[in-house]
Symmetry: D2
Subunit: 335 residues, 4 copies
Amino acid sequence: MKAYEINEFGIDNLTLAERETPAPKESEVLVKFHAASLNYRDLMMVKGLYNPRLKTPLVPFSDGAGEIVEIGEQVTKFKVGDRVTPIFMQGWIDGAIDNSKARTALGGDLDGCLREFGTFDESGLVCIPDHFSYEEGATLPCAAVTAYHALYCSGSLKPDDTVLLQGTGGVSIFALQLASVLGCRIIITSSSDEKLEKAKELGATDFINYKTTEDWDKKVLELTEKRGVDHVVEVGGAGTMAKSVNSVKVGGHIAVIGILTNNGDFNPTSILMKSVRMQGIFVGSRQMFEDMNRVFCQHTHLKPVIDKTFEFGEVKDALKYMESGSHFGKIVIKF
Amino acid sequence: MKAYEINEFGIDNLTLAERETPAPKESEVLVKFHAASLNYRDLMMVKGLYNPRLKTPLVPFSDGAGEIVEIGEQVTKFKVGDRVTPIFMQGWIDGAIDNSKARTALGGDLDGCLREFGTFDESGLVCIPDHFSYEEGATLPCAAVTAYHALYCSGSLKPDDTVLLQGTGGVSIFALQLASVLGCRIIITSSSDEKLEKAKELGATDFINYKTTEDWDKKVLELTEKRGVDHVVEVGGAGTMAKSVNSVKVGGHIAVIGILTNNGDFNPTSILMKSVRMQGIFVGSRQMFEDMNRVFCQHTHLKPVIDKTFEFGEVKDALKYMESGSHFGKIVIKF
Amino acid sequence: MKAYEINEFGIDNLTLAERETPAPKESEVLVKFHAASLNYRDLMMVKGLYNPRLKTPLVPFSDGAGEIVEIGEQVTKFKVGDRVTPIFMQGWIDGAIDNSKARTALGGDLDGCLREFGTFDESGLVCIPDHFSYEEGATLPCAAVTAYHALYCSGSLKPDDTVLLQGTGGVSIFALQLASVLGCRIIITSSSDEKLEKAKELGATDFINYKTTEDWDKKVLELTEKRGVDHVVEVGGAGTMAKSVNSVKVGGHIAVIGILTNNGDFNPTSILMKSVRMQGIFVGSRQMFEDMNRVFCQHTHLKPVIDKTFEFGEVKDALKYMESGSHFGKIVIKF
Amino acid sequence: MKAYEINEFGIDNLTLAERETPAPKESEVLVKFHAASLNYRDLMMVKGLYNPRLKTPLVPFSDGAGEIVEIGEQVTKFKVGDRVTPIFMQGWIDGAIDNSKARTALGGDLDGCLREFGTFDESGLVCIPDHFSYEEGATLPCAAVTAYHALYCSGSLKPDDTVLLQGTGGVSIFALQLASVLGCRIIITSSSDEKLEKAKELGATDFINYKTTEDWDKKVLELTEKRGVDHVVEVGGAGTMAKSVNSVKVGGHIAVIGILTNNGDFNPTSILMKSVRMQGIFVGSRQMFEDMNRVFCQHTHLKPVIDKTFEFGEVKDALKYMESGSHFGKIVIKF
């Protein structure tokens, strides 16, 4: 079978290798992948910015979707033909995260999904909602679960809450959709009025172009009559953290999900002075994934927003497209 | 009556003014103060470092204790002779903090306790545990409630938890005592072996002299077999935040209580990568105070640790003593 | 001013008395009532079934709405002309309930709202949402807050949850509306197909006529593929509790809000065997009321469902109408 | 190997069968049992009172302890020689309980521990604390985890809480020990002054002989100055539930863990009127078990209280001894 491998860092150093198709052990299933999706983490992993001591060769990309083509003899949860996606951390089934669960992430600790076939323990998979295609299913494991965890689990989101979303990447757009289910007030930032317009169609209620309104934190306070928002989904970027703390209410919640390359002038004292809760959100458990899928199944108008689909042979183009930052929602690879 | 006032910033600019003794309104009581205690916030307030736009004249010091000498006609909770201490934020009775509650702090938003008499709404006071003196009672409102909130409320401390405490100031020592009630493992840092010895007597179990062990975060990981601690009570200081995040376990809890003057090389990405919860703790509610007092009443061996007591006329000396940082526990003013 | 009084129990023994219009104290406001609403508790109170040792004379009815016509000199939260409703328990502002807060309920511990004027401490009132009339505002304090507390606070309701509602009284209909905001699956029971049809218009998704389907618990299990529902809002009635436990999922939540006159064959063992959480919901705090009002303000299509409006002189008719049990939503008195 | 089997109900119908020693599958381990302990559920199971439709033959007893003598080739968590105990529900690893997890209990859904050898998936075992013998380890899975779940997880026990314990069976005594770690006030009931004396040695603070004080709920209110206790660990018995609700504070917590054979005059209305939270506690997850073991490891003075030890051949005597109700703590079988 074919599998992409990181052997040396750099997009152009990704190699397409020939590997033996694995056979499932007693409690494993064999998945034939039909789609994968990109996250910013994957881009950093390929470029060597995420973990410079990454063990190689590694199959990149945490997110994929496919069908089960073979099952081990002890498997009871799945059958051949089931449409599934592996969970991000194979070892995080339920409950709180811990160190050992955290070290089971696909496309990092373990081989990822950018390959034709993969074996997974049956405990490490969830079914794709019936009304989602493989491409749509492949967008869920990292970005959608992160958004669900941030708002529904860590944030206990309520219909009267106001949410601040930064940019229009995968997590932000899933967060937008999940917050719109509750009819929340949703403030979203972007550098593009066109993208803000698209966000409006998905349910955002307030819009800030951070190119034209550099002090977007002041604008957030203005929009909320100086109270600040209940939740910030902090996706990182130059100096966003300080602005996020400015934007949140006293006693508010900041879900930290982004790989911050620059913490600007952030002073943690502000966490104290505003009694802020800052929660690092590293994707989520299988239980969260299953709970989230029930939301999608009950609210079938919600569909993952796919910006662009690339072929299996165009993975490098897809990574460069992500690097350009011009996407709205998810970038997908179709096998 | 006599009252200290901040009119201009600076310890030596504190003035002792003559004010009219106030009369309690319908739902108010008149408290005759017998003691006050110092917090680092008070020192910063006096020096103008906490709030440069402070409205003056202001009576400083949030923490005091006294007896009720007169009550308004609607008062039902208290009677003349009751031994009480005002709560830190007069408006934070119960539930979550919000912006308006946060703006009712004594010795900042409102006149504090460094005066002979003060009137308070009956909702803004708690009784001092019977076995505590006025000096002991005066140590509770800010430091003890902060420690209680951090560990018991935000942290839901359990007997198998490991707690990291920084230094031997008022909050750290109360946190030490409150964690010792549960028999927790308690790692404490100090620049002085003598202070570490005192901490041992109060129940600390592991000790790091950060003068001789500069990389105390590595020592913490070593002591916890690389797992990290469950809770850090982060009291601030040069570059402590980065070390605190290093010291905490994946999924752990950092209670941010200190006025951080220097965030060193702290990179918020680490919050994400370790799924850390960082909670700003700004003292606590009256309900927390009352709950905490029940702990003191049930565990009568716990006594506030008073480092040194100054007379009412020696307030400036007391502030300078705090500035020197050589205390262990609380500094108290006796009226 | 005119005020209804319970002097002896029984609907027909309600008396319309002449009382002196009260004057507000320093921190009080004087409310001129324009509307009141009925709860089942009021009916029981009047009939002597709620508290046989009730101190009389008592002004009945916990729920009312009016405008502020005078304020005490210390009042800061309100001004003359504000449209308000008193909270159910005058002493439950925030946080958890306790014994002393529980003993401050209007129309029971304290005089209620069936009078032309009343004085209330400014801490015991909330503003009515602007788009609600006095009649609509008067429906909120008991029934709506109970539903909000049950589903949003105790239940942490999520969009993928399934809710079981019993009958079409005031609490059930508010619960229906509040659950519909999240797009939850909502199963509702009634003895009338006509009422079920109305419930459908408000967002209910599944319907059981318990006259024709006596074993409605089995029907609930059938509708949920044997899983059971996430939440039951248990409003009481003959033998409902046992059926409610049958209907709820393993690990599910039953909000107990009804005055149960008959516990039928209920065996608490079932609580253990299904790991059920059963939470008594006794209305809620002012904070919950304010949070709920923000939901109404953000989702302006939600309007209290008023079944019938009576004049101030028709209070006895209103009580008898409630006794008949034929209402859908709230019964209101207009002053 | 030898294994006890339920083929027909009744203590004297228990049979000692010869079975083939099982071989571990890839992810399984083979445990050689050295001890087992009895719970009331086991007695009911044997007598056919727990589940009349039990699938037989079934090896009874959920709780056992032994050493690993063989491991499957995929096993990574354990090695030969490890001292372990299987968890009560093999499928409840972490997070909340659900229907499928609940159906994996040993000695009920699955074969239990009253046999010389058993195979278990490596996910279904925990290590015994080093300082516990096999007999002591065998007491933990059901009784100790139930007590931990009830007080520490469901109850979030705090040092200032007051706990009411009923009788001196296994769960009550573990609850007593776990509450004593926090220095809680602990009220315990028994029919024997001698047992109350023993409870005092373990840390109980208040004692009620329910033979001589039949209205023990009134005594509890008297002891708590009418406030009621924070937590009741309700272990069942004739009419205890109504008394438990009387004994608990407004807003208090009742952990329902007992198989109630008689609900007396219990009226669920009281749940509402006192805003009680009643939580069914069906043992607990592996995560809770591991967390609890850390408490035992940190507080090594806590030792499981073993009332009496029987030989493997004396199982029927052990069951009859439990039936007599004269035990204090746990009854153990030594292999």
